[in-house]
Each structure stands twice: as C-alpha cells, then as structure tokens.
C-alpha cells in the first residue's frame, strides 16, 4: 500500500504541482485538494504549498487561513493529521495558529532566491525522520516575507522543547530570529519551513541536489508503517 498525500491549491498557489511531483517521486500518491472544498478526500497527510495565495494581500497567509479547506485542516491537524507547510504554507500555518510566531518582510527588503544551507535540528517529526539531527542540507529558498519572528517567551519555549526543526547555516537570508528556518508543533505532526524541499528532489533540476526528498520519504514511511 502507499500513502495518499493531499496538496491544497489556493488561488495564487504556485508550487502545488511541484509538490505533487515530489510526492510522486517519493513513491506516494498525490491528491489535489481545492481551497473552496472542505473535503480532504480522506488523505493521510496534507501539504500546504508555496506561492502567493490571495496575492499575499493583507498579509501572507492571512486570507487563505479562512478558506473552507483550512477548517478541516485545522481540525484534523489538532487530531494528529500530519501537515507540512512550505513557505506560503508555513505562513498559512502560523496565521492559523497551528504553529507559533509569524513571518515579516525580509530584513533587506528584497525578494531572495538562493540555494540555502540548513541544519536539521529535529529529526523526530513526521516530516523529518529520514534526516539525522545535525545533518547539513541544501534546499532552495525563495521568498519576500521570510523573516521568522516570535516573542521571547515563545522562542525560548521552542528552543527548550527542541521544536526548531531547521536552522539557516552560514548565512541568514532574511533576518529570522535565532536563524530559524522551520519549526514543528509539540506533537511533531505539523511542520512549517520557508525553504522549498519540493525543489530539491531531482538531480537534474534546479540546484541539482536531492536534499529535499527525505521530507516526502519520511512521511511515506511513517504512514505506511503506521
């Protein structure tokens, strides 16, 4: 058997098809989910892809968070459904309060697209178990509003509980506090990050690395072995 992983398309989602391809390459079955539709089609996990949902108008992720599909995602994530938010998806997850903190505009005020070095800090989540803690990986990053911020209490709590999942290495591309690139919720089923693992799954494409594939093999193994 294989796992069925939903990918939500909001108006303005850009990396939905790329994410479906990454899921397919990992050996799972991608299922397209539509933002106006509450029905999650009984998928085993959900990815909120990158892009500019609703044009990032008002605030990145702020409108998508109220879409019908998110009602179901929020409800089921709280019950343990694995959810991964990539870039804009991460922004939606913070807006939906499934993850703490939020994202501000990059400190240098420019869009930035680069091959970013990361350190895996937590390899125990649903989406990171195929990595090893401390592993250094390269994942493409591209965003305008990628500066992770949270209040001091939240940051301390995230650090103390080991919930910083990924940290920028060598270069902080957007001014994120504590070099945070991605975080997880307490249960480890909800993960959000700014870099784009779905763009690092084929040796020929993009930066030519496949360091992003373990996101999708991690969840597949978890779901198939469950």
């Amino acid at each position: 058997m294989t796992a069925r992983i939903g990918v939500v398309t909001f108006p303005g989602s850009l990396d939905d098809r790329d994410t479906q391809r990454a899921i397919r390459l990992a050996g799972a079955e991608p299922v397209a989910l539509w933002h106006k539709d509450k029905d999650l089609k009984q998928v085993d996990a959900v990815v909120l892809p990158g892009g500019f949902s609703y044009g990032d108008y008002l605030r990145a992720g702020a409108i998508s968070r109220f879409s019908p599909v998110m009602e179901s995602v929020i409800e089921q994530a709280k019950a343990g459904l694995p959810v991964l938010g990539i870039c804009n998806g991460f922004q939606v997850l913070t807006e939906a309060h499934l993850l703490p903190g939020g994202m501000l505009g990059n400190d240098h005020l420019h869009f930035i697209c680069r091959d970013q070095k990361l350190q895996v800090e937590n390899a125990d989540t649903a989406w990171t178990s195929d990595y090893e803690a401390g592993q250094e990986i390269h994942i493409p990053l591209k965003n305008m509003d990628g500066r992770y911020v949270a209040d001091r209490y939240t940051l301390d709590k995230l650090e103390a509980e080991g919930r910083v999942a990924f940290r920028y290495l060598d270069f902080n591309p957007n001014g994120s506090l504590n070099d945070i690139a991605g975080i997880t919720n307490e249960a480890g089923n909800v993960v959000g990050l700014m870099p784009h693992p779905e763009h690092a799954v084929e040796p020929l494409i993009g930066t030519g690395r496949t360091d992003g594939l373990p996101f999708f093999t991690s969840i597949l193994k978890k779901l198939v072995n469950a």
């Binding site: 108006p11 098809r17 869009f111 697209c113 493409p140 084929e202 494409i205």
Partner: protein
C-alpha cells in the same frame, strides 16, 4: 463646444464640422484626414480613440513595416515553424507533439516613468501573449539596459525595475531563467526593459486571435476596466520624452499579478475543455485592439455593447473604456452552447467574466453605448490598414569617423602584471560583473523544471518529464557593436544568442527579436534600423532560423540623443534530453581546456576598450555565420556524445571573461598558456565571434580532437582546469578569492 448628448455615428454624420482632439491623441493631420476619408464622415469620439491608439507607432508599426517585411521575404524554409509573424506570438514545433511559443517585447518608456509598475506590467503583457496562443507559460527572461551604473538615476530605475519584474513574475510562478543586464550612458534617460516569455502546448492546442462564427459570444474576462494606462501605446510608447511636458505617470498601467495568475489558470482550464474559438489578450490599446483584431482576423463582423464592460470607475467615458490599458484582461470568442461552462470556470477561479458582444455575419465592427451606435467601422482599417511610412533614411555623417577611430590602435598593457590588473578591472566592471544581486531577486526554481538558469549561457526548461525533452532560450544584443555597424551588430546579436543556445547543447530553431531604436523621424536612426533589420533578416536566412515575431520599440531617446541602436535577439533551441545539457561551470580538475574557433585582433566595441579606455570606435568583430553554424554543430554533438563537461561561449570580455566565470561558478581554477600564433593580450581580450571554450575530460581528448579536425573547426589546447587561481603561464596569477571579490562585489556596492 459640447458634444451632447452622445457622439453617435448618426450625430457625427450630422455634425461634420465638430473639431476633435486628434493631435492630443497622437494622430498627425494627414492621418486624421485619412480616417475621415475611410469613414466618409468625421469619426465619432470613440472611433477617433480607436484609430488613434491602433495607428500609433507602437501598435501599427507604421515606420518599421516596410523594413520588417524582409523577415517574411527572406524567411528560411523551416519545418519547425507552426505559426509565424503576425499572431500574438510565433509557434515552433519542438517534436514529440509539443509546440513552443515565445516572444520578446519592450516596456521601455513606462519603466523609466514608473520603474516598478512599468517593468511589472511588461512581464504581465508578454505572458498574456503566450496564454493567448493556447500555451502554458513556463519561463520568462529579461534583457535589461540602464544608464551608467554609477549614475544616481540608475539607482532609482534599476532597483524598481528589478523589483517589478520579480514582484510580478515570482507571483505568477514563472521561473526567470535568463536575460541580460547592460549599463551604458546612452540609456541614461531611456532604459530598455525588454521582457520575454516561453510557453508550451500540444500541437492541437494552438489558438489564434480570430472571431469566427456568427452568433458566437464575445466574453471579456479578468480585471475590471479602469482609467489606468489610457493612451499608453500612443502617448508613452510612440513619442520622445520631453522635460517640458507634464509627467506621463497616469499613462502607466498598474499590475496585479495575483489576478493574472488566476487568469492563466482559468484560461488554461477553458482551453482544456475546448471552449474557446478565438482569443486575444488586452494589452496596448486595450479593447480597441482586442475587438478590432479579433474581428478583422475572423470571417464576420462584431457587435459590442460597451455598457456591459465591468468598470472600476463608473464615470469613465466610452472613449476611455476603449483606450484603457487596464491590465489582466482577456477577450474570448465562445460558441453560445459553451458560454455557461466558460462562465462557470471563470467563477471557479473568482474571475469576473461578462458577455459584451457577439460575432455577426456582416463585416463591420459596431460598438454601442447607452443604446446609441458610437462605432461603425471596417475593423481591418483599424487593425491592419493603418498608415505606412517610407521614412527617409541616410547613413549618418559621423559613421565614417567613428569606424576610422580604430580600437586596435589603443595602448595595450605592457607587462604580465598590467595584464593581470586589467583582467581584474574587466571582470569587476559593471557590465562584466556578476549580476547575482539582480537575478537572486527572481525565482528560478518554481515549476520544478529549470535545468539551467542565469548565469548559464542559455536558460533551459524541461518540458517532458518522461523523455527529458527540453527547450533553451538565450537573448543577446550589443548596442556598442550595432552603433559601429548596425548591419553587423544585428548579425552579431543573432550569432551570440545562437551560439549561447548551442553551447548548452540545444539546437537553435527560431528567433524572436525586440528592436530598440531612437526616433524614426531622424534619418540617421532610420538608417540604423533599416541596416539592422536587413542584417538580421540576412543572417536568419543563412542560419536557417526564421523570425517568428517580435517587437519594435522606437523613440528611445531623450531630446536629440538617441540610444545606441539595440537589436535584442532571442533564439529558441531544443534539446532531446536535458540530461545532456552542458553547464558553464568547470566540473573537474585535470580536464583540458580547448579554445574553439579563430581569434583575430578585434577590439572595436569590445568590453576591454570600454573598461580600460572608455572608447567606442572602429569596426565590430567580423561575422562568419557558416563558422557559427559549424561551431554550434560541434558543441551540440560534443554534448550529446559526452565529450565535454563544460562550455562557455566567448563574447564581450573575450576569453578571459569566460574562463573566470567558469572558474568562479565551478570553484576551480585554470592554468592557461597562449596558443601558437597569438599574443597574450589578443588571446585574453579579443572579441572575435564564432568561438567557445570547452573543458574536455582527458579520456575524450582524442575523440574530440578527431571530430574538430574532421569537421574543420580550429581547436587549440589552451590549458587545464586546476588549482584555486586563474593563471596565464609566465604572465600573471589571480586567486579565485580576489577574482570573486572583484566580480561579485561590484553590483551590490553600486546598488544595494
């Protein structure tokens, strides 16, 4: 006087003496008289609005048409061409049932007036051209030219343009894979912001802009129509800037990339369900253009009720609605039975869609407003039968003097140390420096098919995941060469783009161009234009790459001073399997470096003459198109058969520029020796065309040499990939660190 109650056709016929503001709308007196002659009466205000924008230089090509005909007359026979000049964009067969459409357009003047929105809407416009052919857009490229890098206004214009391109293209989910950034003081008051896009479709999905089938409905969908960009084509794009006139900012459109993204998805879904008979995007000249082009390309006429156009501003007059260049709008012709489904799809994507008219069995374009007929014209007279000018042209008096000012006679470096210093100066000069600060503001990963992106020689996109079929695109243009000799300059632009595509392993198939020139009313500029077009048409014929479409941008000048003639040429190529692509970066130490082609003392218009001597004179490099073709074939064969691991075309900056770029990208140095028959200076800095440098694995050396020998392509071994510096034996050595600092530090220091 007032024009109450409504300037209908009837009213116009009854009031022949009413004065209309034809001059304010950009029409010349004889052009207005011709409109009157065509209609047999004075035009209504609405008709005048339509004629004025459609007969503008930007839309009608009235000054350039007589020259552009050569692209058709001299077109090489090509099995690859599915749709040629005249449609929204040309379409090329790339095999396996796929067709690719691509085009380059200019958005120069708006980008000077309002850099962010000007550049952003340039991307939006070219992307809609691609969708209008039935294709999914898969990539964009942006050839850009600005004034001097250290001029204060460049710091205003460039960051805005780059942010606008990024802000719009990134939000559409289109990888930006190529283009150029060039600085020259001639573009100071007139930057060139050209935008190119590529789209992919299956052969059977090609759509054309025509309205056929009486009774079929005309649907306007996308953004509401507002008062932005009124007269953009006629006023902004077709006149010279003049400080004395009021600011033209209201004529610049404002973009909404989110709306365009919805428009793309909704249009592609309608195509998939075969709901569309004809389609046209609304760009320059807005509804005037869309209705008159759709109607004149189809078999019947068209009736439109302007009251049904959704408005952002309810106070707009019918003339303004017809002239508005509000962005993110499209017009589709749909059979009555399929209208409901079409509207349903638009609703799914939250796109406003309205039936505004229908195709008739007559041959007139009729437009109604508040029950009165305000337009009744033969659409062909609006769209296709505009004025055609045989502008006078003459070789400028200064051309001989410019060509006699030989760059080969400039003082050359006298020692190895001086050579090294000039290398460092060259690779760190704004034109030769890394543009990473700019390109890192563009998304080049989205869609997950990017095989190569800038700073590679060409951008490459995979179009079939199973077979690995891909397409490559390169854009090039060298205004300095074209100033010295416009005929040769245009050919060199084509040769370079052709070479860049071949260097990455793809076979060049077809050409699009964006011809940026000064005022056609200046005979010297018109001569440059005529020569460039003749040169490009001749070269395309010889290389077998037809021009599929493009764009002419005239009036690029401030006051009396025209820009350098700047033909920008885009070449599209195809590669059977992207796994065979050749990158620029050195891959492995120990690989042998070969210089392909002939090197002569050619410094006219060179980067060296600009950087070291601030000089422009002499003759540009010699053009040898048969050599370009042979070099291309060798590069493609070598890539297919695995004989080379990296390759870089030689162009501005010469050999040393290419070697430094390959070294920095690969993080591996090179040891070079001057081949027999050349001096070190010429070896490093000459810009002779038809050359490339390749890295050959030792195991492939014999095979590679045999191939070059058998085909008659000169190939000289010039060194080896090695170490952490770039060294010319016996002359100088520069470490990768100091080269990197010079090459990558310049642009951020000037602009960040």
């Amino acid at each position: 006087m007032s024009r109450t109650p409504l300037d209908t056709v009837e009213h116009a016929a009854a009031t022949p003496d009413v004065e209309l503001p034809w001059a304010e709308l950009g029409l010349k007196k004889d052009e207005y008289e011709r409109v009157v002659e065509i209609l047999g009466r004075r035009p209504t205000g609405a008709e005048l609005a339509m004629y004025s924008v459609m007969w503008s230089e930007h839309c009608s090509y009235k000054s350039s048409k007589v020259h552009l005909r050569q692209f058709g007359e001299k077109a090489p026979r090509s099995d690859a061409l599915l749709v040629g000049i005249g449609e929204n964009a040309g379409v090329v067969d790339v095999g396996q049932g796929y067709a690719v459409t691509f085009k380059v357009e200019s958005h120069n003047h708006p980008s000077y007036v309002e850099p962010y929105q000007g550049a952003a809407t340039g991307v939006g416009g070219i992307v809609r051209d691609i969708i209008a052919m039935g294709a999914r857009p898969v990539a964009v490229v942006d050839p850009l030219r600005f004034g001097s890098a250290d001029h204060p206004d460049t710091k205003r214009v460039l960051p805005g343009v780059v942010a606008g391109i990024g802000g719009y293209g990134n939000c559409l989910g289109l990888p930006n894979i190529g283009g150029e950034v060039v600085f020259d003081s001639c573009y100071q008051g007139n930057p060139l912001v050209n935008a190119g896009a590529i789209g992919v479709m299956r052969h059977e999905d090609i759509h054309l802009a025509k309205a056929s089938g009486a009774g079929n409905k005309v649907i306007l969908y996308g953004a509401r129509t507002g008062g932005d960009g009124i007269g953009g084509a006629s006023i902004l794009a077709s006149e010279t800037f003049d400080d004395a006139k009021p600011s033209k900012r209201p004529a610049v459109q404002v973009g909404d990339p989110f709306q365009e993204k919805l428009l793309i998805e909704c249009t592609l879904e309608a195509f998939r369900e075969k709901l569309v008979v004809g389609i046209q995007d609304l760009g320059a000249a807005g509804l005037s253009c869309a209705t008159s082009e759709l109607a004149s390309n189809g078999s019947g006429g068209m009736r439109v009720t302007l009251d049904d156009v959704p408005l952002r501003d309810s106070t707009l007059s019918p003339e303004e609605i017809l002239m508005s260049e509000s962005q993110e709008r499209m017009c589709a012709v749909v059979e009555p039975a399929k209208v409901d489904r079409f509207l349903e799809i638009c609703d799914k994507w939250d796109v406003i869609a309205t039936v505004i008219g229908e195709v008739t069995d007559g041959d007139r374009l009729e437009i109604y407003w508040h029950g009165g007929k305000i337009v009744d014209v033969d659409p062909r007279t609006v769209a296709h039968e505009g004025p055609v000018y045989e502008r006078p042209y003459a070789r400028p008096s200064w051309q001989d003097e410019l060509q006699a000012d030989d760059a080969n006679k400039l003082p050359r470096p006298g020692s190895g140390d001086e050579l090294g210093e000039q290398v460092l100066k060259l690779v760190g000069s704004p034109n030769q420096a890394s543009k990473k600060w700019i390109t890192s503001q563009y998304d080049h990963f989205v869609q997950g098919n990017t095989v190569l992106a800038q700073p590679e020689d060409s951008g490459m996109i995979r179009i079939d995941e199973e077979s690995g079929l891909g397409v490559a695109i390169a854009t090039d243009g060298n205004g300095r060469y074209a100033k010295l000799d416009p005929y040769a300059g245009a050919q060199l632009a084509l040769a370079e783009a052709y070479r860049n595509v071949a260097t990455t392993g793809a076979k060049p198939l077809a050409v699009s161009d964006c011809l940026n020139f000064g005022s056609p009313e200046d005979p010297a500029v018109m001569w440059q234009f005529a020569e460039a077009v003749r040169g490009l048409a001749d070269a395309c014929q010889q290389l077998g790459t037809p021009v599929t479409g493009g764009n002419v941008s005239l009036y690029n000048q401030t006051g009396e001073a025209a820009i350098h003639p700047t033909p920008v040429v885009a070449v599209l190529g195809v590669i059977d399997d992207v796994a065979r692509r050749t990158p620029v970066a050195f891959q492995e130490e120990g690989q042998l470096l070969y210089l392909l082609g002939d090197t002569a003392e050619e410094f006219g218009g060179s980067a060296w003459s600009q950087v070291v001597h601030d000089h422009l004179g002499g003759m540009p490099p010699k053009v040898d198109l048969e050599r370009e073709r042979l070099l291309g074939e060798i590069l493609i064969s070598a890539s297919r058969d695995g004989m080379i691991d990296s390759a870089h075309d030689l162009s501005d900056g010469g050999l040393i520029q290419a070697v430094v770029e390959s070294a920095l990208l690969g993080g591996k140095g090179a040891r070079l020796v001057v081949p027999d028959g050349l001096d070190a200076f010429t070896f490093l800095f000459s810009e002779s065309a038809g050359r490339a440098v390749v890295a050959v694995p030792r195991s492939e050396e014999v095979r590679f040499n045999d191939m070059c020998g058998a085909r008659g392509l000169p190939a000289a071994r010039i060194g080896v990939v090695d170490g952490d510096s770039v060294e010319l034996q016996g002359e100088f050595a520069l470490t990768l660190d100091e080269l990197r600092e010079a090459h990558e530090g310049t642009i951020p220091a000037l602009l960040a």
